[in-house]
């Protein structure tokens, strides 16, 4: 094998001189499979259904009798969703509140925890496990925990506070009650991601900041946070995705009604289940896609623009 490495190293060392490396037939086959199979899977399971949903959202298909029974109705579904469907705007509002809560409360709290734990204080191993534990739980389990904790007569919260509040049945407060536990889990997730990033920061940076006499917050803001740029991109994308794909926890609590409506719930209500309004549900799904893609595109564009300028 040594005889093989030398010529390829030579190719690698020399910048692309335009001399293409010959691939054997077996190499070509291997490459074709390694690229082709995932491409087919992603294309078939992600991109095809996406475009199919966009197409179906302009029809009134009810899922029975094959796609040929679908009738084209233009933007009628979108019209109905926006004007006469009572749960729609509350669902949009709740998704945005969810996003804002995760972005402004849960993620910064996760970052705070990561920063503190990075200092390797006494017991930080223990705290890491404690804060990461909720991440291990699926949202369905957390939904069960929510129901037990917030039960009006037998729940922990009412027991401790001595109140009789109907946390989950009152539409003005049940979203916040649920968000507390969602934030609990999300913070742990973010904490671990940031902790990994913080450990990868060059210690000489921190030394330099300390030597220059920067205060802790100043050092964090000007030295450490910018150095976490690659992690930040991941964190933002993860937060936005978690906010917009929220589904399991509200479904477990009360099937996503009465103050806990979300766009994902509306999609499943219309598509899965007896209702079977495939066209209508697809319209809501397309709205969800647009809402998801926009912030990510904006943020990633900004990041790449900045990194080009840098």
């Amino acid at each position: 094998m040594a005889t093989d490495i030398a010529p390829s190293a030579e190719v690698a060392g020399a910048h692309r001189t335009g001399r293409a490396v010959r691939l054997s037939a077996r190499d070509k086959l291997a490459l074709a499979l390694m690229v082709g199979v995932p491409l087919v899977v992603v294309g078939g399971l992600i991109w095809f259904p996406t475009f199919a949903s966009i197409f179906l959202s302009f029809t009134n298909w009810d899922g029975i009798g094959g796609i040929t029974t679908a009738q084209w109705i233009g933007t009628e579904n979108y019209n109905q969703v926006a004007t006469i469907y009572p749960p729609f705007w509350p669902a949009v509002k709740h998704n945005l509140i969810w996003l804002a809560f995760l972005t402004l409360v849960a993620t910064p709290f996760g970052l705070f925890l990561a920063y503190q734990l990075d200092k390797e204080l006494r017991g930080s191993r223990f705290y890491q496990s404690v804060f990461f534990l909720p991440v291990v739980l699926s949202f369905a389990i957390i939904g069960f925990i929510v129901q037990l904790m917030y039960s009006p007569t037998q729940g922990l919260v009412n027991g401790l506070l001595g109140t009789n509040t109907d946390w989950l049945g009152d539409p003005s407060i049940n979203l916040w009650a649920v968000l507390v536990l969602v934030g609990w889990r999300h913070a742990g997730y973010i904490m671990i991601l940031y902790l990994a990033g913080l450990k990868a920061i060059d210690p000489s940076l921190r030394e330099a900041a300390r030597v220059d006499g920067a205060g802790e917050w100043h050092a964090f803001r000007t030295v450490i946070f910018p150095a976490l740029r690659p992690i930040n991109i991941v964190i933002v994308v993860v937060t936005v995705i978690e906010a917009l794909r929220a589904f399991d926890i509200v479904y477990i609590v009360n099937k996503g009604r009465n103050g806990l409506e979300l766009l994902s719930i509306l999609v499943t209500n219309n598509i899965i289940g007896e209702a079977s309004r495939i066209g209508y549900g697809s319209a809501i799904a397309v709205i969800l896609i647009v809402v998801s893609i926009v912030p990510i595109i904006v943020f990633v564009w900004n990041s790449f623009q900045e990194s080009e300028q840098a």
Binding site: I64, L168, N258, N269, G273
Partner: protein
């Protein structure tokens, strides 16, 4: 990460490396995956044999799709099938699915590979699928069954085209449940009119009870109250037309229903939108509530002496024109899937399930319901069952419950949130009925 491509294999490299190289592993993986896919595809191909061939292979068995996931009904069905196999020698392959999941998956189930016979409900919920061509007509099964069923049950088993698609097994009425001991202790009498009903609620409230237990976290229990008040005020015919999308929701009739309902809301359980029906039954059981409007399945939560203390009365009359002539009494039963085998064994099973013998076996294990067959053995009925049977028999009109009488997409995506919205904001009836009417036009088309 270098730009270099992986080094091309040299012949002597491969020969000198007898253990599994990367390429070998990849090749083996591809072959293995293809083989696994081939096998499963082959299996699928075997399962997608023509119905005739499947019939020939499966002679002597019939498959049954069941939503009876709770232990009591599941055991009852097992007993029924044992008796069927003993009588005819045909064995039954039962596939039980969780109750709610079964309904939710019904669309893909009936278009995929359904069992020959499956549990379902009477009403529009059955006619809808018959219209879509997913159920097989079973007029030949009904030739022997017809004399055994009252006309109300016969009509409930027909599709919109007049053919039979459904075989009923039992029904259960919705009524106002109460505990006899509580009524006796406080000197309450059964109310027959709306005025008496409200007066009783006032009295119960003064005595420290929640007059009417009410829960709507599940979304469907509130439909029972809507249905009965609508039938009491506007009559059965209007109710049927409303369910079929042939009447307006923002007309004066429906407004009157909501305005009347609002009169009893102050007497219902607080925090109803956070309570399940089981919790409502517990309120009745613990003597915290005086009355509970629910189906007789509420009896499942009462055992022993409490079960004997449980009783019910028909919802009070509101409009003397209609009196108490209508009730909600959902009928459960069976249909034959068009994509099943449609074998003669399946039809024999349906004939057996419609017989009084099958009903007697079922009801012996699940006494919360009433047999649909005229010849069902009523001597073994509990007091509650006898009363249920009497209530159903003397009702002139039987409705199937809102989510079975109307289109499933209307019931689940429009009515559940609308009723919850009413409970949150009972004063805005105007906005509510206008919103329902708009959505109803969008779904029904007119």
């Amino acid at each position: 990460m270098s730009d270099a491509l992986p080094p091309a294999p040299s012949p002597e490299g491969e020969a000198h490396n007898p253990s599994l190289s990367r390429r070998g592993l990849l090749a083996a993986g591809v072959v293995g995956a293809t083989a696994a896919y081939g096998l499963s595809a082959g299996g699928a191909a075997a399962r997608s044999l023509s119905p005739a061939l499947r019939r020939a292979l499966a002679a002597g068995t019939v498959s049954f799709g069941s939503n009876a996931s709770d232990p009591v009904p599941k055991k009852a069905y097992e007993n029924v099938f044992k008796a069927f196999t003993k009588k005819t020698g045909i064995s039954v392959n039962v596939n039980t699915v969780d109750h709610n999941t079964f309904q939710e998956q019904i669309n893909s189930y009936l278009q995929g590979r359904p069992q020959d016979v499956f549990t379902w409900f009477a009403g529009y919920r059955m006619q809808f699928f018959a219209q879509k061509g997913l159920l097989s007509p079973i007029d030949d099964v009904w030739t022997t069954l017809k004399p055994q069923f009252a006309s109300a049950f016969q009509n409930a088993s027909k599709g919109a085209d007049g053919k039979y698609y459904f075989v009923p097994i039992y029904a259960y009425p919705w009524a106002v449940h109460y505990r006899k001991s509580v009524f006796k202790q406080n000197g309450y009498t059964i109310p027959k009119t709306w005025a008496q009903f409200i007066a009783l609620c006032k009295k119960m409230k003064a005595d420290g009870l929640t007059p009417i237990a009410f829960t709507d976290k599940d979304g469907w229990p509130a439909m029972g109250t809507f249905d009965i008040i609508n039938m009491r005020i506007n009559g059965y015919d209007f109710h049927v037309r409303l369910m079929a999308g042939k009447a307006r929701w923002d007309g004066p009739q429906v407004r009157k229903v909501f305005n009347t309902w609002r009169q009893i809301l102050p007497y219902t359980s607080s925090g109803a939108l956070g309570l399940t029906w089981q919790e409502g039954a517990q309120q009745l059981l613990n003597k915290e509530a005086g009355m509970y409007m629910l189906g007789t399945f509420v009896g499942q939560q009462f055992t022993g002496a409490d079960a004997k203390d449980l009783d019910f009365f028909a919802y009070p009359a509101i409009n003397p024109k209609w009196g108490q002539d209508s009730i909600d009494a959902p009928i459960d039963g069976f249909c034959m899937a068009r994509k099943g085998s449609n074998s003669k064994e399946a039809k024999e099973l349906l004939r057996f399930l419609g017989s009084a013998a099958a009903e007697n076996i079922y009801l012996a294990s699940d006494p919360n319901n009433v047999g649909a067959n005229k010849n069902a053995n009523k001597s073994r009925y509990t007091a509650t069952q006898k009363k249920s049977a009497l209530l159903i028999a003397k009702s002139k009109h039987i409705a199937q419950y809102l989510d079975r009488d109307t289109r499933p997409d209307f019931a689940s995506t429009v009515m559940i949130p609308a009723l919850q919205q009413f409970l949150n904001n009972p004063n805005d009836v105007n906005g509510l009925v206008k919103s329902i009417q708009k959505q109803k036009v969008a779904i029904f088309g007119s």
